[in-house]
């Protein structure tokens, strides 16, 4: 059987990507992690890429017990390393994304940031390239490979969602809402309590027997907000004070016993900066869905209508509350603990 011209072109193009990675990978560092319960291998071409992108997965590192279900090859073109065969598209503004899909291969390219993500879903093989490690924006260090994981997680019947998550081994909460609603502050405030930390911005969600799976052990806050959480260590990546630059913490570094990989989901909370005292007010499922779904669907491409349906089923299957955060940050974890006590184990 002969391959079509289109198949040959994609195969040759992938071969060009592999060639670029191989040229860069003279100082390869491999990390085996358990991500959303699956063995995943991260192949960093260099220590500089490892240093920028591996810390977020530190809580998931474990020896591989089985062949990886996903392998991601990660490199940059610092020095004289040839760039991979990049799409010929106009640069445009910083965040502009070009997306293409061809059979099992999905591609996203941000020419303004020079970030390139490719996933071959059938082969369980992904590639992530940037022009230079030191130019990676802070959010790529705190939440690496979001696009690749958004494409890959459905193969595990999971969704990547925009939300923070804290709880106990027997059950926890998902905090949802647009940026600035208090998700990160709430999640990082819980580090001083008995609650476990799973996410501050993105996590994997299994809606069948509702459960949250941690993807990253990072937390990020605007520097002014970070200053209000006195227990936090010095950030690993320091915000420069500008509006779009946040301080990034790797929770595993300072609270290794407070980070967890997953827990059953007991409730969805929509934090709201309101009230004098932290309290939970029951919320209609539709309002919770409004807090969860648009911010998730609009950030990750392509948006999947089935993911929207699954998020709707999720908010129907667990309790939902508006979480009025009150004035005292220290009261946030106790309010969540009280709620979990009331709800009991899953």
């Amino acid at each position: 059987m002969t391959r079509s011209t289109a198949e040959t072109l994609v195969t040759d193009w992938i071969a060009g990507i592999e060639e670029s990675f191989a040229e860069a990978a003279d100082d390869r560092v491999t990390e085996e992690i358990a991500l959303a319960g699956a063995p995943v291998r991260l192949e960093f071409a260099s220590a500089r890429m490892f240093d920028r992108l591996a810390p977020g997965f530190a809580h998931l590192v474990e020896p591989a017990a089985a062949p990886p279900e996903l392998t991601i090859r990660i490199w940059d073109s610092a020095g004289a390393i040839a760039e991979p065969p990049l799409p010929d598209v106009p640069p445009g503004p910083r965040g502009r994304i070009y997306y293409s899909e061809d059979g099992s291969v999905r591609v996203a390219y941000q020419p303004g940031l020079k970030l390139f993500s490719v996933l071959d879903r059938y082969r369980g093989l992904g590639w992530f390239w940037c022009s230079a490690a030191e130019e990676l924006p802070y959010w790529e260090s705190s939440s690496p490979f979001r696009q690749l994981l958004h494409w890959w997680l459905p193969s595990r019947n999971m969704l990547l969602v925009h939300g923070a998550a804290v709880g106990r081994a027997e059950g926890g909460v998902l905090l949802v809402g647009r940026g600035g609603s208090g998700k990160s502050t709430s999640a990082l405030a819980c580090l001083e309590s008995d609650l476990l930390y799973a996410a501050d911005d993105y996590c994997a969600l299994d809606d069948r027997a509702p459960a949250v799976h941690s993807l990253y052990c990072s937390g990020k806050l605007e520097p002014a907000h970070a200053a209000r959480l006195h227990h936090l260590p010095e950030p690993t990546i320091d915000g420069d004070g500008s509006e779009d630059e946040k301080a990034v913490f790797f929770v595993q570094d300072n609270y290794p016993d407070r980070v967890c990989r997953s827990f059953p989901l007991r409730a969805v909370l929509a934090p709201k900066i309101a009230g004098d005292e932290a309290r939970m007010v029951p919320l209609a499922g539709a309002v919770a869905l409004r807090a969860l779904a648009p911010s998730t669907l609009l950030q990750l491409h392509p948006a999947d209508p089935e993911a929207f349906a699954r998020m709707a089923r999720l908010v129907n299957s667990v309790a939902a509350y508006s979480f009025e955060l009150g004035r005292e940050i220290a009261a946030i974890p106790s309010a969540i603990e009280r709620l979990l006590d009331e709800l009991g184990p899953a």
Binding site: V10, G95, Y99, S100, P294, S295, L298, F308, N316
Partner: protein
């Protein structure tokens, strides 16, 4: 008048008597409640405005003219927000009389339907606009130029 959902740019879910609609290209999202949910469900089912009016007449206590005017207004608003587009082709519109559900025993009071628009997530799309590359574009190279 017949319109259809502006897929794939628009996706929607109905939960607890409320429909949430997300426009993936503009970054706006919307909620519909009460009779507006019935109107959206009629659109999604491929019904023309006459059939949607009959659908509402079976459920709500109001004059046909009042409901018909509300249906026209909401469909126009949905079209203005590009949540629906005119459907001049495809399957024939479902005939209103034939499609009319049997009136429910106790019809609900008719409240003026409304479309609520939220723009607080729009900056996501404005900052990170997405461009689909068509099948002839990258990553393929045009064989003629290869």
């Amino acid at each position: 008048m017949k319109v259809r959902v502006n897929a794939p740019h628009v996706i929607a879910e109905t939960i607890g008597g409320e429909t949430i609609i997300v426009h993936l290209s503009t970054g706006c999202y919307f909620n519909l409640g009460g009779p507006a949910v019935d109107i959206w469900e009629g659109v999604a089912a491929g019904e023309a405005s006459a059939a949607i009016t009959q659908r509402l007449l079976a459920r709500y206590e109001a004059r046909e003219a009042e409901i018909g005017a509300a249906v026209t207004r909401i469909l126009s608003e949905l079209e203005r927000e590009e949540l629906v587009v005119a459907d001049n082709g495809g399957a024939p519109a479902t005939d209103g009389a034939a499609a009319a559900p049997a009136p429910t025993a106790a019809r609900a009071p008719f409240e003026e339907p409304s479309v609520n628009k939220f723009t607080d997530m729009q900056d996501i799309i404005l900052l990170d606009p997405v461009h689909e590359v068509d099948a002839r574009g990258w990553p393929h190279t045009d064989p003629a130029n290869a």
